[in-house]
């Protein structure tokens, strides 16, 4: 394996000093001179016609500078599925009707938050409540209330995937089982709520907005549509972001209304959601129904698989249609499935909409498929780890028309898991079980529903006289540590230190396009773009060094340890800093620059590369109370060449935290479209005492499509967590689950059901 100076070494976060001293500015922390505070008035009805809105009293309140309703907005609709215009269904403020509890109908800008809130109370809205629909199965009935009248039905999107001859394979299978599942919604719960600060310059007609987003590019594109402006007149700046997890891909009413209010008042306007708004009106992981049919040979080899999904999409599209598609693909990974059919339906309903939350469709699907796999293994008398080994793919595996795994370490991961489990858990206690789950996840999406005409990722660098490097990209660090990865890749390629790199990231005015942080894309996609930019500068320096050194042209020169030297004779070389000075002098005083980009070509429908592995969870069940404790987590994963082991560990552990929440306690109960737990008091996320120890083992491979052989090490481990936990409970006591969130009452019920089944079986024997 290649020797690196920086890649692969545990590297502290480059944003660390700012984040531990309070210097880091998040959008929510920002103010501008003469700034106003914006607030949104939201619908109390899940579905209602707006008959009239009277803002006159609110306008009279001292300190109120603007009150707007739907008719005062530019009226542009937007969405992330821009390729399909009819799915651009979001709007700044509802005009004709509201579609969920929390749909905004009016906005106020005032000199203080308090005055803005008082003004909201003075706005009179006359609604005519309409029948509403909350369940996807109800939503597709002929007589269901229509969420969007201009749409042919409540079917927002459908996805069909098929390869092989599924019906024939089922007919010939030795073993077939069918299971149905109901998956709960979950909220991303970023600690920083959605926040935007917009400043419109009346003189130039240009807008600058600071916003808590995962993609400055998406915000710029969506604002251009919402405001009917040119994208070049909109500058989006992403300050530090206090959490994303997929919930900050869509452009939300905070950004759009801050912009509109700033345009109306000529003053900067900041809109910050409160926690209740964050829970009730921002995007969540979609609740869905799933039906799975699995066909196998006697030995546990999968021969056919059929999946149906119906998701409770909610009022708008977001990235929910993409999530629907990815549910149908990730559910097949990392297994050889010769015959496969998927049909997914996303429905419009009168609730807040679901989208691409961390794990992007993999999470609900894998819960179903991997708990089903354990039941099949038991029926066939095959060990649960062995059944995963039998079916795991090998390098070069292609799912027809969908995806190819180039680097692929799943088999060695499973082998390593088998060895480590025996060492780690030589014996287990009563009512304990070990559950497994295999996983694979993309390193950035190939799909382009935003319809960007630009490179998927770009970066440019400027090397200054003193050897410092300014690195510019729209790529987004949202906490996952991409800034550190970006600096590491740039420094490694140029053979210099991280301290030489100056980052200028997440600003649409400074940098070419990067599509943002989603689908675990930044390391591979932005990493490739940065490496491309840096290698261009490196080549210029090497050319100059070659001339100066006058060596045999057969010798290769490398850049490492701040020198450029002959790879075979390292003592013959020149200082990077001296070469930079020579190069700039030679270039008529122009700093060295490189512009790199990356767009995947001919890499299937999903991603150029996949992180993968296997997880084991040891859990204990209390048969009296139904309480489940995750005691220990073991992950063996292949993330290619890991760039920063510290950051990778953080991502894996963070994903497991969110996955355990999905498996144990996070849920979004609603009554007639009203969320019942919109605060952290009632919406339970795991606390420090709830977390088990986590052991992570790497199986490094070299990914040919990634920078320095790297691929995803971020979201993959969320999807296997809840199913591995449910499987552990299944192994411990036989209790079967057909939905996530193993609350004690549900576990007790499943244990009792299992006991009844066992009793019936033993009586039958007698």
């Amino acid at each position: 394996m290649k020797e690196f100076s920086i890649i692969g070494k545990p590297t502290p976060n480059v944003d660390g000093p700012a984040k531990v001293t309070g210097e880091a500015q998040y959008t929510i922390d920002m103010t501008l001179p003469h700034m106003l505070y914006g607030k949104l008035l939201r619908s109390p009805y899940p579905h209602a016609k707006i008959l009239s809105i009277d803002t006159s009293e609110a306008e009279k309140l001292q300190g109120v500078k603007a009150v707007i309703t739907g008719k005062d907005t530019p009226g542009g609709k937007w969405g992330l599925w821009r390729r399909f215009r009819e799915l651009s269904d979001q709007q700044a403020l509802a005009t004709d009707k509201v579609r969920f509890i929390g749909d905004p109908v009016a906005a106020v800008a005032a000199t203080s938050e308090e005055i803005a809130e008082k003004a909201l109370d003075l706005i009179e809205v006359d609604y005519e409540p309409l029948p509403a629909v909350f369940d996807p199965i109800e939503a597709i009935k002929d007589d269901a209330p229509m969420v969007h009248e201009d749409f042919p039905s409540n079917i927002n999107a459908t996805r069909h995937i098929e390869w092989g001859d599924v019906d024939d394979a089922f007919a010939k299978a030795d073993y077939v089982r069918e299971d149905r599942f109901v998956l709960e919604a979950a909220h991303p719960c970023a600690m920083e709520v959605h926040s935007s600060l917009a400043s419109y310059d009346k003189g130039t007609g240009r807008l600058t907005i600071w916003t808590s987003t995962g993609s400055p590019y998406f915000v710029q594109q969506n604002l251009a549509e919402a405001l009917k402006m040119r994208e070049g007149d909109i500058r989006v700046i992403k300050p530090h972001v206090g959490g994303h997890y997929g919930g900050k891909n869509s452009t939300m009413p905070d950004a759009v209304n801050a912009a509109i209010l700033s345009m109306k008042t000529g003053r900067p306007v900041k809109v910050v959601f409160n926690r209740d708004e964050e829970f009730t009106t921002t995007e969540h992981r979609t609740a869905q129904h799933m039906a799975l049919k699995l066909g196998m040979k006697k030995n546990g080899e999968i021969v056919a698989f059929e999946v149906k999904a119906m998701t409770n999409g909610g009022a708008y599209t977001g990235l929910g249609a993409t999530t629907l598609y990815l549910t149908g693909t990730f559910i097949t990974m990392p297994y050889k499935i010769p015959n496969y059919r998927y049909d997914g339906v996303r429905t419009y309903t009168n609730i807040v909409w679901g989208t691409s939350i961390r794990g992007f469709g993999a999470v609900p699907g894998k819960y179903c498929s991997e708990t089903q796999l354990d039941r099949a293994a038991k029926d066939l008398g095959v060990d649960p780890l062995e059944i995963r080994r039998i079916n795991a793919v090998a390098p070069g595996y292609t799912a027809p028309g969908q995806y190819t795994f180039e680097s692929c370490g799943i088999q060695p991961c499973i082998e390593k898991m088998a060895v480590r489990v025996k060492e780690k858990w030589p014996a287990i206690e009563k009512d304990e079980g070990i559950g497994y789950c295999g996983f694979a996840y993309m390193s950035g999406g190939i799909f382009n529903w935003i319809d960007t005409p630009y490179a998927y990722s770009s970066a440019h660098i400027k090397v200054n006289w003193d050897g410092t490097v300014d690195l510019y990209s729209q790529a987004a660090d949202v906490g996952q540590g991409h800034n550190t990865v970006a600096a590491m890749i740039c420094a490694e390629e140029l053979g210099i230190g991280i301290e030489d790199i100056r980052l200028h990231m997440g600003d649409t005015a400074h940098a070419y396009t990067d599509l943002g942080a989603w689908g675990s894309r930044e390391t591979l996609m932005n990493g490739n773009a940065i490496k491309d930019a840096a290698s261009q500068v490196k080549q210029k320096l090497i050319d100059i060094a070659r001339l100066k050194l006058g060596e045999n042209i057969a010798y290769d020169l490398v850049a490492r340890n701040k020198r450029i030297f002959l790879e075979l004779r390292p003592e013959r070389g020149l200082s990077y800093y001296d070469l930079v000075k020579d190069a700039i002098r030679q270039n008529d005083g122009v700093p060295l620059t490189g512009t790199g980009h990356y767009t995947p070509h001919n890499k299937g429908m999903i991603s150029p590369a996949y992180g993968m592995g296997i997880m084991a969870i040891k859990a204990k069940v209390d048969r009296e109370t139904g309480h489940v404790t995750a005691r220990d987590v073991l992950v063996v994963h292949d993330s290619g060449q890991i760039i920063n082991p510290l950051g990778a560990r953080g991502q894996v552990e963070g994903s497991i935290h969110m996955g355990l929440g999905y498996g144990l306690c996070e849920e979004m109960p609603m009554d007639q479209g009203m969320l019942l737990n919109p605060e952290f008091v009632d919406y339970k996320i795991l606390r420090t005492r709830d977390m088990p120890e986590i052991e992570i083992l790497d199986v490094p491979t070299y990914e040919p499509n990634g920078p320095f052989g790297a691929k995803e090490a971020a979201e993959a481990t969320i999807a296997p967590t809840a199913p591995a936990l449910a499987n552990a409970v299944y192994q411990a006591c036989g209790a079967e689950f057909f939905s996530n969130v193993l609350k004690p009452e549900k576990v007790l019920k499943a244990i009792r059901a299992q006991e009844a089944k066992n009793n019936a079986a033993s009586q039958a024997k007698e």
Binding site: T21, Y26, A190, G242, G479, G654, R687
Partner: protein, 176 residues
């Protein structure tokens, strides 16, 4: 009717006139511009806004500013000495104990209060102190490791200081 508030924040005295209902977190963030203290909920259930008041970790969203009248408050901005980070801050960086960093100030200030009281806490004691601090990024284990690392660093610093003191005392250059 506004009332006078006298507080010392990070060693600096402030005299303010505020509405009695003003929360400490509002005074810090809005009046004094100390935005390193974050607020992530409206129900006193995330602990992101934790600061240290006279040595005790306090959620600054659940206390009126006037309740700390005449007292000393330390926020995350007050930990570093000049350009030197506090050992807790350095331990958080070196152990990757934060990702987005939004809850980090609260975690660090609670750690400060803990380690000032208990120089060598166990994993359980650390978890007890930090249990109310919600973090959505890290899964907490790396935070716990950072706290243990910080305790070691503080102990090493203390040992070094007492060694220096001993040497000074022995050489007779100390107090006369």
């Amino acid at each position: 009717m506004k009332q006078q508030l006298n507080i010392v924040v990070n060693g600096e005295p402030h005299e303010l006139f505020i509405e009695p209902k003003t929360l400490l977190v509002q005074v810090l963030r809005e009046h004094l511009g100390l935005t390193g203290t974050h607020q992530a909920c409206d129900s006193s259930s995330c602990a992101a806004c934790t600061v240290v008041v006279d040595g005790m970790a306090v959620k600054s969203c659940s206390i009126l500013a006037l309740q700390v009248n005449g007292r000393e408050v330390t926020t995350v901005e007050g930990l570093a000495q000049g350009k030197n980070l506090h050992p807790i801050q350095q331990a958080f960086i070196d152990n990757w104990a934060f990702q987005c960093g939004f809850c980090t100030s609260g975690q660090i200030m609670a750690t400060k209060a803990l380690l000032d009281e208990n120089a060598d806490p166990t994993r359980e004691e650390i978890q007890a102190q930090l249990d109310g601090h919600l973090c959505r990024c890290t899964g907490y284990n790396m935070i716990n490791e950072a706290v243990r690392d910080a305790a070691k660093r503080l102990k090493a610093r203390k040992d070094l200081e007492s060694q220096k003191w001993l040497q000074t005392a022995k050489s007779g250059k100390g107090a006369k």
